[in-house]
């Protein structure tokens, strides 16, 4: 038996667990770390089962090349040779910006850094992005503008010190269960809990106030709260005077958002809004926790700015128990952003548009110059692929055919490419469309680091060998770069890549593997002797003054109408992870949620004449799918909810590709749909 301490591969909470391997090198279980500050001997069900997909028979064990229309086994030499040849041919024929690189929030920091280096330093394009575009792109933009840093301001442990917690657009017990458990615990010990969510999520059962505002009405709600706080003199005047700017503009902007005005838009009562404002402002230490319910809107950046405004208005920043706490979804989505797997920044959010930044990286990488033209966001790249402007794509560990909005559009984009490479652990729906598939090691089979939602840079450690010929992503990228003409150091291990990251990335300047034993460091950690920074914006914001940026209310891009009378909101379930690549191959998780379902209010069910568990058709202007009905008061009448995990009933066949103008994030949380009682085709 071998026990390997590592970091959970599912959500961004960053729990530490041991992978247990038998003497034959097979994983046989998981044990939570008893001493880790987040896990503390606890895990959620996905953590307890994190070992269970690793040896699945469908793991990719050899490179695949499409020949005569079929993906067929090939050697690494053939596969990487073909990838390099085709990527370079497209670059030479159409320019480097005809290629798009999708990095992965599931891969390590080191791997994200290398793919970013490959795209920018070897191919010569800033066309690199990853699934943060679909989850917290609004946060990165909105918090950078207001506070100067697009990350969770406080630590997870801080939540236990809050007097009041506002959870808005986060189903925390399902999506960040160990954080949700802390919030539940805090509420039981007397912390006031306000839950703002259309769905009656578990936290709502334990909340002092549950605000079931209409999906997409967050700006109205938040402006209404700020109006009441100002009207009743509950704002933190000393904090506003010393640490903020733009206050008068905010005051003017929320002046019209009386509780009655906010109530009219949100569907709440004016009394609910007043009570929530008083409760939140009444706490000495107030924390705001949010996630996709805030970000995945065409006004996602506005939502995030309004959240930041509320924290600034009440002085809830830079102290324990306070903060603006976006919960990052993927195990390493924070790190993938930190590493510059984004079209406009290299690692540490250093802008490619700034000559000094380009010069620093070009010098370090031994290159004459780097492109200063920001690349394509992932969502816009899909449009450019469908339009034929982007000819080739390299996708590392993402499954956009299931995860991106408007599946027909995503399919058109992916199938329009001249050349598609997918680097994966399973033959995902996207990989099935590829010209070349490169088999990768999973989290349990490689070394590296993940950065959790609280900016904790933590080690990932190899517990078992990868299956067959599969290799770690960093090893594949290193070899591919060499074949594409890159002159890279011969990194012996991921620790050597981290040394390069630390040298180029101020916030990671003090990160080195020996310092991450056993549990990691929170960035910013600029120097080798710096202890890390659990709480941001202490004394001053990263950008100096906190900047109020008021937002006007804009309705979602598509609302229910006579033809599509229901509001469809999408998300995830507790038991599955995104497109189910791993969790649908984990026995207990797969057994728990077997297939697509739609949550429907019993009143809507009665009007349609459908029974619980009956299979129905769900249609939007983009497509039509089948799923089983779950009659539940979890949703309000008029709203339906679907998880997007299931390829056979893909919620994203219904969602639409309407984007936030600044962040490029799709409006997964609102579109119009209808449910039809129609018999099975068979």
């Amino acid at each position: 038996m071998k026990k390997t301490l590592t970091t959970c591969p599912y959500c961004g909470t960053g729990c530490a667990l041991y992978l247990l391997a038998d003497d034959a090198g097979r994983l046989v279980g998981v044990e939570p770390s008893a001493t880790h500050p987040v896990s503390r001997g606890h895990l959620c069900i996905k953590g307890w089962n994190a070992y269970a997909f690793v040896h699945h028979p469908q793991r990719l064990t050899t490179p695949l090349i499409r020949r005569s229309g079929e993906l067929q086994p090939a050697s690494w030499d053939e596969a990487l040779g073909l990838v390099a040849e085709r990527l370079l041919a497209i670059r030479d024929a159409h320019g480097p910006d005809a290629l798009m690189f999708f990095s992965s929030a599931k891969a390590t920091n080191e791997e994200n850094f290398l793919l970013m280096k490959l795209a920018r330093g070897v191919i010569g394009t800033n066309n690199i992005d990853h699934c943060a575009r679909l989850c917290h792109a609004s946060t990165v933009v909105g918090l950078a503008a207001t506070l100067g840093s697009g990350a969770m301001t406080n630590s997870i442990a801080c939540l236990e010190q809050a007097d009041v917690i506002l959870v808005i657009g986060s189903n925390t017990t399902e999506q960040h269960p160990m954080i949700g458990a802390r919030i539940l615990g805090a509420a039981r010990r007397g912390t006031k809990l306000i839950v703002a969510d259309q769905r009656r999520i578990r936290l709502a059962h334990h909340a002092d106030l549950h605000l079931r505002h209409r999906c997409g009405s967050d700006v109205a709600l938040l402006n209404g709260l700020m109006h009441v706080i100002l009207a009743e003199g509950l704002e933190d005047r000393a904090f506003i005077a010393e640490r903020t700017e733009g206050f008068e503009e905010l005051r003017a902007a929320v002046a019209d958002w009386t509780p009655q005005a906010a109530a009219a838009v949100t569907g709440l009562t004016a009394a609910e809004i007043v009570a929530a404002a008083r409760t939140f402002a009444g706490g000495e230490r107030g924390a705001i926790v949010y996630a996709m319910g805030i970000t995945q809107h065409t006004h996602g950046v506005d939502n995030v700015k309004a959240v930041a405004d509320l924290a600034l208005l009440t002085g809830n920043l830079g102290r324990p128990g306070t903060g603006v706490n976006p919960l990052r979804g993927q195990n390493n989505v924070q790190g993938a952003c930190d590493m510059g797997a984004l079209p406009d920044v290299v690692s540490g959010y250093q802008k490619v548009a700034e000559p000094a930044v380009r010069e620093k990286f070009a010098h370090a990488w031994g290159l004459p110059a780097l492109s200063g033209h920001p690349g394509l966001m992932a969502t816009l790249a899909m449009n450019a692929m469908a339009d034929g402007q982007v000819k080739g794509a390299f996708i590392l560990g993402e499954n956009p055919l299931i995860s991106d909005p408007d599946q027909a559009h995503a399919r058109r984009a992916l199938t329009s490419l001249d050349f598609l490479v997918v680097q994966e652990i399973f033959l995902s729906e996207t990989a099935q469309l590829a010209d070349v598939v490169l088999p990768a090691a999973c989290f349990a089979e490689k070394d590296g680091t993940f950065t959790s939602t609280e900016r904790l840079v933590q080690r990932v450690r190899r517990a078992v060998a990868p299956p067959g010929a599969a290799r770690a992503d960093w090893e594949i990228l290193k070899e591919l770069a060499r074949r594409c003409g890159g002159d890279w150091p011969d990194y012996p291990d991921p620790g050597a890549i981290m040394a390069e990251i630390a040298g180029l990335t101020p916030s990671y300047g003090g990160i080195a593997y020996p310092r991450l034993e056993p549990f990691g460091l929170p960035w910013p950690c600029p120097t080798p002797d710096h202890p890390g920074t659990p709480i941001l914006h202490v004394g001053t914001c990263t950008r100096g003054k906190g900047r109020f940026l008021a937002s006007g209310y804009r309705p979602p891009a598509e609302l229910p109408d006579a033809e599509y009378p229901l509001l469809l909101t999408t998300g995830r379930t507790y038991f599955h992870w995104h497109t189910g690549t791993m969790t649908r191959r984990t026995h207990l998780l797969d057994r728990e949620e077997r297939g697509p379902f739609v949550e429907l209010h019993p009143d809507d069910g009665a009007a349609l004449g459908v029974r619980d568990r009956e299979e129905v058709t769900i249609a939007s202007r983009r497509g039509t799918i089948r799923a089983r009905v779950r009659l539940t008061t979890m949703v309000g009448a008029g709203t339906i909810f679907m998880p997007f995990h299931f390829a056979e009933g893909a919620a994203n066949a219904l969602t639409h590709n309407a984007l936030d103008p600044e962040a490029g994030i799709p409006e997964f949380k609102v579109c119009a749909a209808r449910v039809e009682k129609t018999p099975c085709a068979d």
Binding site: V30, A34, I45, P177
Partner: protein
């Protein structure tokens, strides 16, 4: 009974490694304690019960059941060395005694007994609590017991297997050496037992309304840890994985807190709510097993209370239940 220093005890354990797979509490890199081999980490005898149930040595989280070749032939499993497992508290040994009976009852669980038969089980008790407090000696339910007195370890064999291994190791010890540990153990409060017994009586007398279970159920996030860490939980799921050259059947710890645990093929579920599932978990240990086996099947090891992220382990529930309805 023999007396040993810690060094002598470890030397003796090392000497057993040529005949046994020796497992004992070891310290992992982050300070967690777990059952492991002597080469996996520094021995960590002190610290109280292990976070993970030591019965995992016989009923692991994930266990191969069989491997079939393409022609359907069942391939032989490699023979495993007999186990020597040190690290059971008295409560753990009571749990082991119960699941020994459970897995022996028709149908006998061959997979369990594949490891359990021939294994040597050693209790680890005495002055080894997290802050030096006394873990009550078991006085039986195992092949031998290692009892820490504070300045030495007493080795007390209870079965022929235990006697044959302890033989002439250490120096003879007299019974009085045990008395301070025994009297300290006797002074321990029996309040947890009385509380659990009272909770059992209330449940069996139907004094606990559904609303109580609904309220507890809303606090369950279905992490399943309560079941996974429980030494008397014996439920498992089964999966088949077909590779190009073989099919592997394995089983893994399951949980009655999962909706899928009792869901019927139609989709109907007799345990279709969190309230019912939470009720069942407690009811099983404190009422149903009392009917079937004549005793409670929670031995107050404390693991579910430690592993539950939301504070609804069995002792926490028993406390709330007795406070409200007792």
């Amino acid at each position: 009974m023999r007396r040993l220093t810690e060094a002598e005890l470890l030397r003796w354990l090392r000497g057993l490694e040529d005949r046994f797979e020796v497992l004992l509490p070891v310290l992992l890199v982050d300070g967690s304690r777990a059952l492991g081999r002597l080469d996996e980490g520094a021995p960590a005898l002190a610290g109280g019960r292990l976070p993970r149930k030591p019965t995992e040595a016989f009923f692991p989280q994930h266990d191969p059941v069989l491997t079939a070749a393409l022609d359907g032939a069942i391939l032989a499993m490699p023979a495993a060395r007999p186990l020597f497992v040190l690290g059971f508290t008295a409560a753990d040994l009571a749990c082991l005694e119960f699941i020994d009976r459970f897995f022996a009852a028709p149908f006998r669980d061959d997979l369990y007994y594949r490891r359990r038969a021939g294994a040597v089980v050693a209790g680890l008790t005495g002055a080894l609590g997290p802050a030096g407090e006394i873990l009550p000696p078991a006085g039986g339910n195992c092949d031998l017991e290692v009892i820490a007195t504070g300045d030495a370890f007493l080795l007390d064999p209870y079965t022929p297997a235990g006697q044959s291994l302890t033989g002439e190791v250490g120096v003879p010890a007299a019974a009085p050496e045990l008395r301070p540990v025994q009297s300290a153990a006797a002074a321990l409060s029996d309040e947890p037992q009385r509380l659990l017994q009272r909770a059992s009586e209330l449940i069996r007398a139907d004094r606990v309304p559904d609303a109580f279970w609904a309220e507890i159920g809303t606090r369950c996030i279905a992490c399943t840890a309560c079941n996974l860490v429980c030494p008397t939980c014996t439920c498992y799921g089964v999966q088949d994985w077909s590779y190009p050259d073989r099919t592997e059947r394995s089983r893994m710890w399951d949980s009655c807190q999962l909706e899928g645990f009792m869901r019927e093929a139609s989709g109907h579920n007799p345990l279709g709510s969190e309230a019912l599932r939470t009720r069942r978990r407690i009811h099983h240990k404190l009422a149903a097993d009392v009917e079937r086996w004549g005793h409670l099947t929670c031995y107050l090891c404390g693991r579910c209370d430690a592993a539950c992220p939301t504070g609804i382990g069995i002792q926490a529930i028993a406390r709330e239940l007795v406070a409200r309805y007792g």
